[in-house]
Structure formats: structure tokens, C-alpha cells
Amino acid sequence: MQALYAQLLVGLINGSFYALLSLGLAVIFGMLNIINFAHGALYMMGAFCAYFLLNLTGLGYWPALIIAPIVVGIFGMILERTMLQWLAGLDHLYGLLLTFGIALIVQGVFQNYFGSSGLPYAIPDELKGGMNLGFMFLPIYRGWVVVFSLVVCLATWYLIEKTRLGAYLRAATENPTLVRAFGINVPRMITLTYGLGVGLAALAGVLSAPINQVRPLMGADLIIVVFAVVVIGGMGSIMGSIITGFALGVIEGLTKYFYPEASNTVVFVLMVLVLLVKPTGLTGRAA
């Protein structure tokens, strides 16, 4: 039973990353009509940002949790201003190709300087150790990742679904021209949205640094799984992305316990099944 709970926890952690990343993808897709292939590379940049902060400036985990998403978010906004904005009005597929190119550049540069092996990043002192829950031993850091990710996801949901800014954002997703006519600066909102989505990816990167080590290719395979998550959940609903992300993480964790050989593939197999039964995805509207 211990092993089962341990795998469930690992599943929840992976689920947190899936949720944070697919949430960002969904928000970006809503505003920019672009599937951000660079999301995995920006997640990796978040982790590296934390690593640099610690080793170059001595700033630890807690400042990194705030600074890394801001730095990477600004980098993302520069990308949006200099490149992505020129794709408005073109076929969506060009966005995919462009961001794929950006991902290759970013990952290639980091691979050149850091190879393919992982760099260690220590768990902050406050979150070291674990506690005994009676039925299992819970490493505090892992519990923290799950709880904190959930809070961030719900805060993002609240921001988009319940606040005035979110209302502008949803309106601009539906009809940007009309929203502009009301005097709202839609291009600036698009830039900020991209920054927000990218920032969420970087935050996931910082959270994952102490668990998965910091590697140039840490986001490359992850982004493909997240794509499958997005296909399963559909990008129509924010809450849908969050729930699908966590649920698939848990299912993956359970698979690791019951049938480890399939743990790499279970998400993709589920994607096939969902496509056969309900092609629009679990929460998605017809595209």
C-alpha cells in the first residue's frame, strides 16, 4: 500500500505540472490562437532561472518562485512583441511552426552550455523532511508542490472567470474587434496574456527543479504529454484544463503502480480512447 500511495503522490505532482502547463496553453490559445510549442522550453527556462539565481546571486527558492516567472514572462512578452504578433491573421499552423523553432533554439542553446545531464537544485530548508500521515510518509516538499499548484490554478481560474480584467480577456477572445472599439487596448492584453501563460510555465519549472533536477530537455518530452492532455480536455474551459491535468497525473501514477510498462504511454492511449468516443475532448466545444 505504501508504494501505491507514493505513486499516487508522484501522479499528483505530475498532474500539477500538467495542469499548470495546459492552463497556460489554453489561456494563450484563447487570446492568440497559437499553440505554444515553446511552452516546454519556457518551463525549462523557469527551472534554469531558479538555478542561476541560487548560484550566481545567492537568491534562494522563495525569491526564485516570484522572480523566475517574472523574468521568463518578460522574455515571453518580448517574443510575442517581436515575432508572434506578426502571425495575426495567418493560419494557426504557422504559430505552431514558429514556436517549435523558438523551442529548438532555446533548448539547443541550453544544451550547448549545460549538456544533457541534470543539475541538482536543493529543496529549501523550510520544506525539507517529511511527516508520517499514519498510512504513508509524505515528503513535505512534494505535498507543498501539489497544494501550491492547486492554489495557483484556482487563482488563475478566479482571475479569468470572476474579475473585471478576466471579463475583458474573455470578451477579447470572443470578438477582439468589438472589444477594441470599446477603447480597450487589446494588443497589450494579448502580450500580457502570453506573459501570464509563459509565467505559469516558468513557475511550474521552479517547482519541479528540486524534484526532477534542472535539465535542458526537461520540457521537451513533457510538452508532448501536455499536448495530449489538452486534446483530452479540450481548450474551451479553464477549469476543464485544471481538472484534466490533475486527473491524468493521478491515472498515470496509478498505472505506474499496477502496470509500470504502460506508464509512459497511458496518457496517449487515453487520448486515443477519448478521440474515438468524444472527438471534441471532454470539455471542448466543436472546433
Binding site: F29, I35, M83, W86, L87, G89, L90, D91, H92, L93, Y94, L96, L97, L98, F100, G101, I102, A103, L104, I105, V106, Q107, G108, V109, Q111, N112, D221, I224, V225, F227, A228, V230, V231, E261, N264, T265, F268, V269, M271, V272, L275, L276, P279, T280, A287
Partner: protein, 322 residues
């Protein structure tokens, strides 16, 4: 919304004549390669990738479907052919047939799943499916995991042609490439190809005209996968190995890049793109990971400034169809 291939000229006798002239020039240039002193293995490798890129281009350029998982056909056919040759000792022609048939079967299954969504979702689904196969091949014993299948015997094609001789192998690969190219060329100029283009331009309208667009897309997907598999089977004889590299997503990305550089939706673009990218990899091999960075830069540059690709720009400039 501007489509990916927005200025394809309508098929006309002049277009067909232009294309046939260029085809004859291309074939003639390729036939004389063994006498020029160019390293034949480089050209053979490029021809395999050119056929793969042409197969990919059939989907994106004429069906509007961007597959981000075409490596799965290349790799699957490669593994099957390699296994048939090495373990079962089959003859080359049966090995190629087996690999290509395997890719066709894979095309039926993956096509049935992936054509259920359009546009961006289609790309993500094909990418996910090829990643699924990557993990399957990583774990199944017959692929030998990280090592791959190595030292594959080349054998005698039809019992006569010794494929271990570079010149013989070169002409076999060349005939395979030209055959596959003509199949694709015939397809895009057939009534079937016209319906595909109609689906690319406006799917709801094609449906309202009574076409069962899903069947057309599925057939195009299977055809594209089969030809990509054929390229993978040929490549086994050139490289004499089959490995995980051929199923990895980076390979799918390279195919996209070749076609983008040459020109999406052009007849000869994928061939030119494949030669450019393979040549680049040869000459820049010493730069390690910078090759990835350069590929990324080419992607970004092409999308931002050069969307028609090399051949597409030339064709556009001369108002010709190439």
C-alpha cells in the same frame, strides 16, 4: 484567414508542362550523380528524406493537414524491414513490401484516430501518437531499444541486383524515389487531389457539395503514411540500421522543416528542402548542438519572412507552378 498555401495556381496545361520539364531535369541530374564524384550515400540519404518530405507535403500542401508525427511511419517501416531482413532473412523486395505494408496498416489506424480533429488539434494528435509509438518501440524487445537493429544485410534485389554495391543501391533508391514522386504527382493532379484541395480551402463547402470529406482525408493520410513508410524501408538499405532516432519527434520536426524550407504545397519544394537540410547537417556536423539552434533559426526565419519557401518564392516570382 490566409491558408498555408495561398497562391497555388490552378492546374493548367502550362503548369503541367512546366512541371514535367523540371521533373525530367531533376531525374537527369540525379541519374548522372554516380559519375560526378559526389558521395553517393549523401544523395541516397537525401533521396529517402525527399520522398518522406513529399509524402508529408501531400497532407499539408494539398489536404491542409499538418502532421507532426510522420517519423512514426519512417521508423515503423524501417524497423519492420530491418527485422524481416536480418531475423527472418527475407529478400530485399519482400522486406520493403513488409515494411511499407506495416506503415500502411499504421496509417489506417492512426489516420482513423487523428482525422477526427482539424487544424492545430490534428498536429497535436499526430505528435502524441508518434510519441506513443516511440515509447512502444523503446520497450518492445525486437527493436533492441537504445541500440537499434544494426548490421542489416543488404542482399540481392529480385535475386539479381547486389545492393551491397553502392552504384546499384543508388539506382534502386533513385527508382524508388522517382516512382514514389510520380505516385504523389499523379495523386495531386487527379480528381481525388482536386477534392483534397477543395477540402483544404473550405471543408464545410466540400461537405455541402456531397463529398464525404473524412474518407478523402483518411485516404490521403494512409497514402501519405504508406509512401513515408516506403521511404523508411529504402533508408534501411542505405543506413544499414534502424534506430529510435527515426521515430523520435525531432525527426518529425525535421520533415516539417525540409518541406517548409522548400515550400509547402509545391511539387518540387520538399525535394529541394530535403537536400538543403541534409547537406546542412553533413557540413555542420562538427558544431554539435548548434545544428539544433540553426534549425530553430531557419524555422523562425521561414515562418516570419519566407513563408513560400525556396521553390514557392521562385514559382511566385515567375508566376509558374513548380
Amino acid at each position: 484567414m490566409s491558408a498555408l498555401t495561398d497562391d497555388t495556381l490552378p492546374a493548367s496545361p502550362r503548369a503541367v508542362r512546366d512541371e514535367m520539364i523540371v521533373f525530367v531535369i531533376m531525374a537527369a541530374l540525379l541519374v548522372i550523380v554516380p559519375w560526378t564524384g559526389i558521395y553517393p550515400f549523401f544523395v541516397m540519404q537525401a533521396l529517402c528524406f525527399a520522398l518522406l518530405a513529399c509524402a508529408f507535403n501531400l497532407l499539408i500542401g494539398y489536404g491542409g493537414l499538418l502532421s507532426f508525427g510522420h517519423a512514426m511511419f519512417l521508423g515503423t517501416a524501417g524497423y519492420l524491414t530491418a527485422h524481416a531482413l536480418k531475423v527472418w532473412g527475407l529478400s530485399p523486395e519482400l522486406g520493403i513490401l513488409f515494411g511499407t505494408a506495416g506503415a500502411a496498416a499504421l496509417g489506417v489506424i492512426t489516420g482513423y484516430v487523428s482525422i477526427r480533429r482539424q487544424g492545430i488539434y490534428f498536429s497535436m494528435i499526430t505528435l502524441a501518437l508518434s510519441q506513443l509509438l516511440f515509447f512502444v518501440y523503446l520497450q518492445t524487445p525486437f527493436t533492441h531499444g537504445e541500440d537499434g537493429i544494426q548490421g542489416i544485410p543488404q542482399g540481392y534485389l529480385f535475386g539479381i541486383f547486389n545492393l551491397a554495391k553502392p552504384t546499384t543501391l543508388y539506382y534502386v533508391v533513385l527508382i524508388g524515389f522517382l516512382g514514389g514522386f510520380l505516385v504523389i504527382y499523379r495523386t495531386i493532379n487527379s480528381p481525388f487531389g482536386e477534392v483534397l484541395k477543395a477540402i483544404r480551402e473550405n471543408e464545410p463547402r466540400a461537405i455541402s457539395l456531397g463529398y464525404k470529406t473524412d474518407q478523402y482525408k483518411l485516404l490521403a493520410f494512409i497514402l501519405s503514411g504508406t509512401l513515408a513508410g516506403f521511404a523508411g524501408s529504402l533508408k534501411v538499405f542505405v543506413a544499414q540500421n534502424a534506430s529510435l532516432t527515426d521515430v523520435h519527434w525531432t525527426m518529425s520536426g525535421e520533415v516539417v522543416l525540409m518541406t517548409l524550407v522548400g515550400g509547402l504545397g509545391t511539387v518540387f519544394g520538399p525535394v529541394v528542402g530535403a537536400f538543403v537540410i541534409i547537406a546542412m547537417q553533413q557540413y555542420l556536423a562538427g558544431f554539435g548542438q548548434w545544428v539544433t539552434v540553426i534549425q530553430g533559426v531557419i524555422f523562425v526565419t521561414c515562418v516570419l519572412t519566407f513563408r513560400r519557401g525556396l521553390i514557392g518564392e521562385i514559382a511566385h516570382f515567375f508566376r509558374r507552378s513548380l
